[in-house]
Symmetry: D2
Subunit: 334 residues, 4 copies
Amino acid sequence: MLPPVNLRPPFNITRASHVVLHVADLARSRDFYVNIAGLVVSEQTDSVCYLRGLAEACHHSLVLIQSNGEATCKRIGMRVFFDEDLDLACQFFQARNLPAEWAEVPHQGRTLHVSDPAGTKIELCARMETRPRLHLKREIFTGAQAQSLDHFQLLATDAFALCGFYGELGFRSSEYLASGDKLLGSFMYRKGTVLDLAIIGGQGPRLHHVAYLVPGVEQIFAACDLAGNYGMADCVERGPGRHGPGGVLFIYLRDPDGHRIELFTDHYRTIDIEIEPVRWEAASLSTRAHWGLPAPARWYFEATNFEGVPVVDPAVRPNPETLESYAQKLSAQN
Amino acid sequence: MLPPVNLRPPFNITRASHVVLHVADLARSRDFYVNIAGLVVSEQTDSVCYLRGLAEACHHSLVLIQSNGEATCKRIGMRVFFDEDLDLACQFFQARNLPAEWAEVPHQGRTLHVSDPAGTKIELCARMETRPRLHLKREIFTGAQAQSLDHFQLLATDAFALCGFYGELGFRSSEYLASGDKLLGSFMYRKGTVLDLAIIGGQGPRLHHVAYLVPGVEQIFAACDLAGNYGMADCVERGPGRHGPGGVLFIYLRDPDGHRIELFTDHYRTIDIEIEPVRWEAASLSTRAHWGLPAPARWYFEATNFEGVPVVDPAVRPNPETLESYAQKLSAQN
Amino acid sequence: MLPPVNLRPPFNITRASHVVLHVADLARSRDFYVNIAGLVVSEQTDSVCYLRGLAEACHHSLVLIQSNGEATCKRIGMRVFFDEDLDLACQFFQARNLPAEWAEVPHQGRTLHVSDPAGTKIELCARMETRPRLHLKREIFTGAQAQSLDHFQLLATDAFALCGFYGELGFRSSEYLASGDKLLGSFMYRKGTVLDLAIIGGQGPRLHHVAYLVPGVEQIFAACDLAGNYGMADCVERGPGRHGPGGVLFIYLRDPDGHRIELFTDHYRTIDIEIEPVRWEAASLSTRAHWGLPAPARWYFEATNFEGVPVVDPAVRPNPETLESYAQKLSAQN
Amino acid sequence: MLPPVNLRPPFNITRASHVVLHVADLARSRDFYVNIAGLVVSEQTDSVCYLRGLAEACHHSLVLIQSNGEATCKRIGMRVFFDEDLDLACQFFQARNLPAEWAEVPHQGRTLHVSDPAGTKIELCARMETRPRLHLKREIFTGAQAQSLDHFQLLATDAFALCGFYGELGFRSSEYLASGDKLLGSFMYRKGTVLDLAIIGGQGPRLHHVAYLVPGVEQIFAACDLAGNYGMADCVERGPGRHGPGGVLFIYLRDPDGHRIELFTDHYRTIDIEIEPVRWEAASLSTRAHWGLPAPARWYFEATNFEGVPVVDPAVRPNPETLESYAQKLSAQN
């Protein structure tokens, strides 16, 4: 059902690390991430703002870049363990005829720009400048007290193929969605939690969301309340609710440019190779396995494009139960 | 805007006390209230089950009665301070030509059955058998750990008139909804919190919901999770969310007979007479003042009839924004 | 065991309202109450600072007055329901030959200064200026997010006698400590919660502590963490722990002048007259009925004097188990 | 200051896995771990009980063995990634003339029994039988809802030497305690969190405690409350409090045989090699860096012996501030 995993991958990706987003109004976006998500600013210039979670020791997990209008994702970033892993990665991507170029990136060590077969733009590095963790510095806490970037969710035209690619790089699945023998999506991890990368079928390659860990359910509501207080109630797109796969509590917010972030509470640890991935039946693509309303259509179909990367429709467009279709059924009953 | 309040009422109602509901399957309803809401059974026979919240010292706040099919509310119960208040109440209702009859009710002291001008069936008593509070007995906690019955919400054909009646009985408003100079509803209290009785315009008299206090937001989610685990995910009707008026976190559940309960976190204290009620503009009838989805139409329009009491439509049927109308707008945008 | 209660008291005290404290350094004390407890400043001058809890609509529950050195309590404040209750109170105290004088107090309605038979200095008023409640304004939350002043604890040379006095004023006991037939202390209430006034035997009259309600256990720890972060770790005097009587979670802090505040989570509701007070045996004076360390001796024996009021030792000095005596026993076992 | 770390260790230990303890009364100990910590029983016979945390997929993280009286630790267990790592481990230990023997252990794959240079008895395995994770099955939750075994703390006669040994095995330090140039102890990890193994100087080798992760601060108090309710209040040895190193909230309990467990809330993630370990000055050995009481002497000096392994005193006996010495200072001030 799931593509094979290489438990001895050619180089060692350790975790989801950071994301670089274009935004239309740098100050407004920074305020959103500071006041609602609770990130802290590590450094800021006229054109770029570097933020990190309260418990992060690395310089940035979110980089906002002032754009000329387009709201794309420049790159998602992943960490490798050793500097040498970058050279091995370069060889690997070149051998596949995939883009792989060295780049100079401020506050990061040697950085390699690559694209996966779906076109997802990724940067790999082994080192970053460090900053003190601030997770105990309560007097500066804001927003939902986001602790650390946890994972990305990608929409992929061919989810099975892309899961296979990341399987070659040592990503294992903790839980996955399937309809009969068709894989709809999978939660894949490197760092020993439920996921670093969710790959879900859809028009791709696109970035569906970036997820930050928050301390508890109280902070899930804090994000919503603050969104309301700051006049941005409409940014609350979905939730609060309980996920099927992974089982965490979540809220999804849209930032001022429409980039989606998830704030969620902690999930279980993985690591051991004998544990079988958990299968969720197709019906679960409605994503409300336990209780709660389905997500609105825009949660399923809207996502952030990667800069300069064309998107391709899947062979079969997903047809999940949405808030809209659910409400229509309710109306029919009234 | 609000009808006058008699600060020296003819008798002293102290608080919302209990509710008596007809249910189609006693065991199934008991399981719902024990396993999901977290009430404890004080006593049970073949035809009736008495339950109370963990922090309640009185014998029952919820009485379930095996019915022959109809799912009505027999009565809502309120407490008066002294036994003498019952006699004063009897005189008051009789003087108004309102029903007032003495009744024998197990586990309660002298009990008076009355109806308000809208036809709401109420019982008043000054005493009840007591039981130990169990709020520290963690080893028996279940469900959402409901602590105590807090308030009732009534639908009233003429909300202004009914608020006026309860104002005569000393109920004061903490917060209210209005559209221009039309009162849409009000939160009225006796016990020094935000409310004992919410009176909202609509087809009435009906019982919209009974609200129990839970310890915190964690228990709001516990109720939802348990509903899902026990195969009753559909009983989660609305929420979790944050109220406009009152500002508490809430979830609304429908019990197996469709009776609605709210579980919510604590609200502020009232008491002082110089504090002005908080006004919410009509737009708030959509009930999502801060953030979140509108309630589904059934939350607005479905409620529990009182046994044998005909209902009357209001002059103007409320036309709130509903989940259905909101979703339709979303669909139009897609 | 407990002195009688007059359920139809001569005037209607509704709740514990506010406290007026002398402090050596106004700015430092304000910072303590804002940054650690989480109160908000309603108004401030060179010599006085008025604070209130986030959920309070009245102008002040804590008044800090710049002193010339002494760290006394000027008065504790209680609210009465009607203005007329002030006149009835005046008559009552005068009839007992107890001090009763009218006073002009900023931001308050007509105010009556009285002393109880133990000498406790009290002020009564029926009205106060109002301010918006801020309990939903998350973006200004600080410290432990104290919601509202809840109760006072007094040390009384003759606890039984003083409980009797407050019983005449309609204060009822929810829980009490006794050793055989000797009353050691009692939790007395007016507002329908566990207490407005705790009266405990000891050198008196002194103010043992003022208690503020906080939203949950998370805020109990926030207070401690912030005390540590602001270089005031030593102000954490006792806890976090679980009370015997009342059963709430608590922390006790000493402010920069040594005035003690308790931050605690919500307790159950009282009101009904048929409920018997809960008795705790003398052993509980050690105050660790459920689990946890005994309080240090200073928690038992240190308290705030009332301005100009001499203190009197009780006939028998209390001899509770203290942290010190407990640790000595531990040492002996090592 | 810290001994070197081999980032390419000879075999791959992935995480702290399980612990095997002798207990005097199997039923009583099981009840302790189920009712207070909240573990679930995976399997039980007359002489052995296997337990796991709610979020664990492996058969056991705690094995209780009915003993003939001695309350020792049989072994602590660690996981390796591949089966081949076991062979590499065997070679490694044999090359060092350290004990290394193959063992048959129920519910585990091939298992290797080894001892580190301090004599700590360890078992390594690469596989275990699996069971469903129960972290969403709220209806069976008990106690503090312990999620998963997180780490062990060892007392070592020569902490520096033992940290050096584990450094060779790829364990890195997240935080450490030092006095001048003397290492007092270190938190070492493999699984990408703050620690899998704490090594602290003292009479060793002994097991100081086993730590389980709990969902939040509410569960820290639940453990205490339940200990009290089950008549075991004295098992609460230290806390609730906030750690210096690591910064988590904690409680320490002693099980019926005196084995110590810690329940704590989640900590930050590590992983990246450029992040410097955090140094805590010697004064912190008092372990109350932020606020709170020092631990009692028994917390510092009592621990569980390994079966059949003699203990050795350190060159210099630690002399931390204890609850006892702190209370003595308080007494002197009274």
